[in-house]
Amino acid sequence: MRDIANRALNIAQVRGATYADIRIVARDTQRIAVKNGRVEALEQDETQGLGVRVIANGAWGFAASSRLEMSEVERVVLQAIAIAKASALTKARDVDLGEPVVSKGAYQTAVKIDPFTVPMADKIALLLQADEEMRRVNGVKVTRGEMVFVRENKTLASTEGSFITQEIVESGCGIVALATDLRSGEVQVRSYPNSVGRHQQTRGYEFIVEQKLVENAPRVAEQAVALLTADPCPSDDAATLILDSSQLALQIHESCGHPIELDRVLGSEAAYAGTSFLTPDKLNNFRYGSEVVNIVADATVPGALGTFGYDDEGVPAQRTDIVKNGLFVGYLTSRETARQLGLGQSNGTMRADGWNRPPIIRMTNINLLPGTWSVDDLIADTDDGLWMETNRSWSIDDKRLNFQFGTEIAWEIKGGKKTRLLKNATYTGITPQFWGACDAVCNEQAWVVWGTPNCGKGQPPQIAHTGHGAAPARFRNVRVGVIK
């Protein structure tokens, strides 16, 4: 690795790059999917390659190849430089990365049980058992279960002298029951621990064991069936709403995580993901939420999905305040964007989806810090409201202001008690108004760092794995029941 890296950096400098870095990445992915009592997919994928990022003539170029050979390294570096020179044809100013970053070190995910050493047969057996528990329930039409394990080894070297090796291990799992009623055309779904396939963390197989898939399977299936005949979520323009921690995690992801990406704010994503309502004039000067809303970006939380040692620019993992007592105080930055806004050093959020993509600003773990309420007290304190749980649909505009979420399941809260089951629950709002109407966040006991393994951004498309710590929280005056 060191040979390839040195050769690449050397060629880059000789051929006129003022900055270069190379990442050599190998990623193994194991995936097991079961469905309706069958193993539907067993798959092991490996992908490896190198990506070279250069600045030449004051502009960026990036080239990548799957062939880890010296002759190919040379071709890729020259290609990156040629691309950078083409970029320079339109430049308004030279790229400025600020102070050099010189990091040397190694990082490894702390894993108790290496998931790649656990026999596949054991993993299959666990998923099939959970699947069987779900299928036992009358009225269930489709059952699914999934496990995913990832091991990524990467080396980063730069012309500024950084040399870093990292090994990141992830484990993820989930089960889903789908119930249908053809006569009414009703389709209802329940997922556990989270929807969109799975919950995931940077941990070993111990994470899978802790999720207790088999124990939760009957409840998941029963709820899916019960939802078929549940009453629809009523419409109300000013409801009191409690979100469970997993739905809140996605709410944070979409309405806080994305708009604080400084590349978005500065227009880099204007044509695709969009821009942001959190424009630079609002920094330290804008009420994002109520006093109880405290949000941090923290790449150091042990085991969380957005946790690492160094970002892909070699900047060490950090914790940064984003919203403090409701006030908007921080962005996710890169070296270039931090310099552009005069924010000092990058706070280390540049990550690439593999060897064949350049790093871009990505969420690390965007966490809503725990409050003081116990879940029971919060429900007891709510006279008339709704509890919504587990995301089913999500959509938000390109400035991250106007959102609409649907959840798999909901309950009415009457007189301080969870009562009637409700289906097709939806809520909608405008980001700062919604967070401004947050009047309670539950405490540490109910706080979970959810993993979102499917965040799409960029062109060409990149998928990031991000984490979101949250505990159930209450919001006032929310518009609910948008579906007719």
């Binding site: 539907e40 798959e43 170029g61 083409a86 430049k91 204007a270």
Partner: protein, 446 residues
């Protein structure tokens, strides 16, 4: 690009390494480049070379899949071995019969040398034109220009060998004029077909006309949906309704409706991976030739797409719409078409007493699959139509509406169609613009 002979050699080499009962190799070679611009300058500019093999082995009725992008002899052997070890851990799949037998595959020319050789300077040149035009009008340009060359091949131990090289160029731009934005995009197999000036003019004009948008009430509107928006409708129909798996699992409105009217009489939808006016791929990822499948004909539900597994379940033949193994999603329509109408696009607006002009949908998601109930936002050019004319720009609106209902209320269809390729998964769609009544908007951004 390795070329057909080298790819044939490689896939035969892999098949020879396998001791399993049946073996399949999917080869994908990628040479892709993309130039991204924002704030009227290039800020990201990338190229990628990759070759990937995906091996599916069958031991009795047990199936395992492994993939790798390392083509060294050791790695090839390791990948085949991994697939076999995995297969042996599998449970029997009683539904599995056999990998597909060879069938004649139509030859479709889809590779344009010029696109494959398009240089970073040529892309930068095109971006310069966009940026200059933008600056001249006081507008800010953003977007991406991608040129891609792919080689796809499938070989199996029953004698299938299918190889297809394909190229495409895709340029899209969002122009920003203070409070207004405008979008335009263009996709073609030949990069020379991209008319950069026309694209710039379309997006700039729309951005300028979108400035200072006013409020408008949520509610039901007649909408003029440009091709960009109609593209989204087809994507969702392919995914939630037009796959045999969705029907088999009672998730599709097509279930039990074949031969019945499900959409407006003017609506005809089909899939054709061999058509000359799409980004063709004449076979699927199991090496089965892609059939033309009609979903809806003059409003009547006709059929859905199949892969081998779903076809066996229904006792029919695969239509050649499988995804790469191991596939849990079921078959998918990757080359959809919507039949054009007879109204020139510029005349669609006539007769709309009060309605909305929608350039594009954004961040659309399924709320209810059976109803194809979708929520999303409008973006990059939304206007009020009064008495057959665009009168003013409006702020973006959120809609929560059934795309199925929308295609049941089609008032007019444009004569022109436009080609799209999806960012994710590379599906292509050719669609007209539409006028639809009763489109439900559920909220406005303040």
């Amino acid at each position: 690009m390795l070329g057909i002979e080298r790819v044939r050699e490689l896939t035969q080499q892999i098949l020879a390494l396998s001791k399993a009962d049946e073996t399949e190799v999917l080869f994908t070679g990628t040479d892709a480049a993309l130039t991204r611009f924002a704030n009227s300058q290039i800020h990201q500019n990338v190229a990628e070379t990759n070759t990937d093999i995906r091996v599916r082995v069958v031991c009795g009725k047990k199936i395992g899949v492994a993939s790798s992008n390392d083509l060294s002899p050791d790695a090839l052997k390791r990948t085949v071995d991994t697939a076999r070890v995995i297969a042996q851990l599998q449970r029997e799949n009683p539904d599995f019969r056999a990998l597909p037998e060879p069938q004649p595959i139509p030859r479709v020319e889809a590779f344009v040398e010029h696109t494959a050789n398009f240089s970073p300077e040529q892309r930068a040149q095109a971006v310069s034109v966009l940026c200059k035009k933008a600056k001249a009008q006081g507008v800010v340009a953003a977007g991406a220009f991608a040129t891609t060359a792919l080689e796809i091949a499938v070989a199996n131990s029953r004698g299938v060998f299918a190889y297809h090289p394909v190229t495409y160029a895709d340029l899209n731009t969002v122009m920003t004029a203070e409070t207004g934005t405008g979008y335009a995009s263009f996709t073609h197999a030949d990069a020379r077909a991209v008319n950069v000036e026309a694209l710039a003019d379309e997006a700039i004009d729309k951005a300028l006309r979108s400035r200072d948008p006013g409020a408008t009430e949520a509610g039901e509107y007649t909408v003029l949906l440009e091709e960009y928006a109609v593209h989204d409708i087809l994507n969702f129909l392919a995914f939630v309704a037009f796959s045999a798996q969705a029907v088999q699992e009672d998730r599709s409105f097509m279930k039990g409706k074949f031969g019945e009217k499900v959409m407006s009489e003017s609506v005809t939808l089909w899939d054709d991976g061999c058509a000359p006016d799409t980004i063709a791929l004449p076979f699927d990822f199991e090496g089965v030739p892609r059939q033309k499948v009609v979903f809806v004909e003059n409003g009547i539900a006709r059929g859905v797409v199949y892969d081998t597994a779903t076809a066996q379940r229904d006792g029919v033949a695969s239509t050649g719409h499988s995804l790469p193994a191991p596939n849990t999603m079921g078959p998918l329509a990757l080359h959809m078409f919507m039949a054009p109408g007879d109204t020139p696009k510029r005349e669609l607006i006539r007769g709309i007493e009060r309605g909305l002009w929608v350039t594009r949908f954004w961040y659309t998601r399924v709320v209810h699959p059976m109803k194809v109930l979708i929520t999303g936002m409008t973006r990059d050019g939304t206007f009020l139509i009064e008495k057959g004319e665009v009168t003013r720009p409006v702020k973006n609106l959120r809609f929560t509406t059934s795309y199925l209902d929308a295609l049941n209320r089609v008032r007019a269809i444009s004569r022109e169609t436009k080609l799209f390729i999806n960012d994710w998964g590379g599906a292509s769609r050719r669609v007209p613009a539409l006028v639809v009544d009763g489109f439900r908007f559920t909220g406005a951004t303040q």
